[in-house]
């Protein structure tokens, strides 16, 4: 029941995206009213606040989790759209393998960026 497992993960990834994009909305777009996640005055995109988020391990983990969830959710959805075109068995396996490789590569690269951010912020004097 591979499809069942993938679909369940797709569902969970959607929930994760909902929670973390909600968090993004609160921190980045509702800062003027809620003041959450931004310790310094000057708005969410002020360098001091950006650097504070970059140095935070909490944000590094949320970036990685959101990245994984968004990649899986998006690629699985795109795979389903392609499968609507009814490709043959060989092409389906190729799409699966290609998407897995692309997803893993993007995840590794994105995770490296997120986890390297605290060091970068410190070097830049944040």
């Amino acid at each position: 029941m591979r499809d069942r497992t993938l679909w369940t993960w797709h569902l969970f990834a959607g929930l994760v995206i909902l929670v973390f994009l909600g968090l993004h909305m609160v921190i980045m777009h509702l800062d003027a009213t809620l003041h959450v996640g931004n310790p310094f005055p000057g708005g969410a995109v002020d360098w001091a606040n950006v650097a504070a988020r970059m140095k935070s391990m909490f944000f590094a983990i949320t970036y990685v989790v959101l990245l994984g969830a968004a990649l899986f959710h998006g690629l699985y959805g795109f795979r389903n759209v392609l499968f609507e075109l009814n490709p043959g068995g060989g092409l389906r396996r190729l799409v699966d393998a290609g998407f897995t490789l692309v997803g893993l590569a993007l995840f590794v690269f994105g995770a490296w960026v997120a986890l390297a951010a605290p060091g970068v912020a410190m070097r830049m004097g944040g």
């Binding site: 029941m1 591979r2 499809d3 069942r4 679909w7 499968f83 075109l85 009814n86």
Partner: protein, 274 residues
């Protein structure tokens, strides 16, 4: 009022005989409409007056048998259950149900649908084979348990949902709304214990995962079965089963049949013949 002509409509009928015709063609016939006249009545008039070789399936004429599913003015419907007046058009375009091979004219080949339906074991699966072959009582079920599947049991297998489904149109492997809804109908029956067996048949592209909830199956269903809902509930069941959250039902117990006194005006049931 019966017999009074209301108006004249044009029957735009698709004709096709595989092996004989190179491609389908459309024929137009003018038919007088009388009050209460259904699309099926009109087809009989067309056959009687203009096209004696026109072929379609029909039987009960009252929306029970599911034989006369057709594409009527662009929507899968039962010809016997659709009054010409409700179409609000002077043209009645009648074609065979899409997503099926054509046997002749308006007769779709429903074998693919019924083969999948049979594969999903649309009957009570239980361990007590002896009890099923020689019943000693009745399978216990409460009215509340009945409600879980009652709506889905109204399906008459007309194939309208299959004709409306965009996934069936593009993916020959997908089981389709009717077989899936009927599999769920039995999965959610408290007397049944065949969830695991059906789950195996539903693995891969055949299962409910390719349904992206267009909802067309439910919109066109002439009996209000709502196959789209059944498919979403089936997905929920399968996910809960994977997460070990599904309450397993081994099949309800057998209880003694009631021994009430039959009313005088109700005849006795016929004796068992096999």
């Amino acid at each position: 009022m019966a017999g009074t002509s209301l108006k004249t409509v044009t029957y735009h009928v698709r004709r096709f005989e595989p092996g004989k015709d190179a491609e389908p063609r459309w024929e137009d016939h003018r038919v007088e409409v009388t009050p209460g006249m259904t699309v099926l009545d009109g087809l009989w008039k067309v056959k009687e007056l203009f096209a004696p070789t026109l072929a379609w399936r029909s039987s009960c004429r009252m929306g029970i048998c599911g034989s006369c599913g057709m594409l009527i003015n662009g929507r899968p419907r039962l010809a016997c259950n659709t009054q010409i007046e409700e179409l609000k058009s002077d043209v009645v375009a009648v074609g065979p149900l899409p997503n099926f091979a054509i046997i002749k004219d308006l007769v779709p080949d429903l074998y693919s649908m019924f083969d999948t339906h049979r594969d999903l074991m649309p009957f009570l699966l239980r361990d007590d084979t002896k009890e099923q072959e020689a019943p000693t009582g009745e399978y216990w079920q409460t009215p509340h348990e009945l409600e879980h599947y009652l709506q889905f049991s109204y399906c008459i297998k007309c194939g309208c949902c299959m004709a409306g489904c965009p996934t069936v149109a593009t993916d020959p492997e997908y089981a389709g709304p009717m077989p899936l809804a009927q599999a769920h109908r039995y999965d959610s029956d408290s007397r049944d214990g065949g969830f695991a067996k059906r789950r195996e048949v539903l693995s891969g592209g055949r299962g409910p995962w390719r349904c992206h909830f267009a909802g067309e199956c439910s919109r066109v269903c002439p009996k209000g079965v709502d196959p789209a809902k059944a498919i979403q509930l089936m997905k929920q069941d399968l996910v809960f089963d994977m997460l070990r959250l599904r309450t397993r039902k081994p099949g309800s117990k057998v209880v003694e049949a009631p021994h009430g006194k039959r009313k005088d005006d109700i005849p006795a049931a016929p004796t068992r013949t096999a």
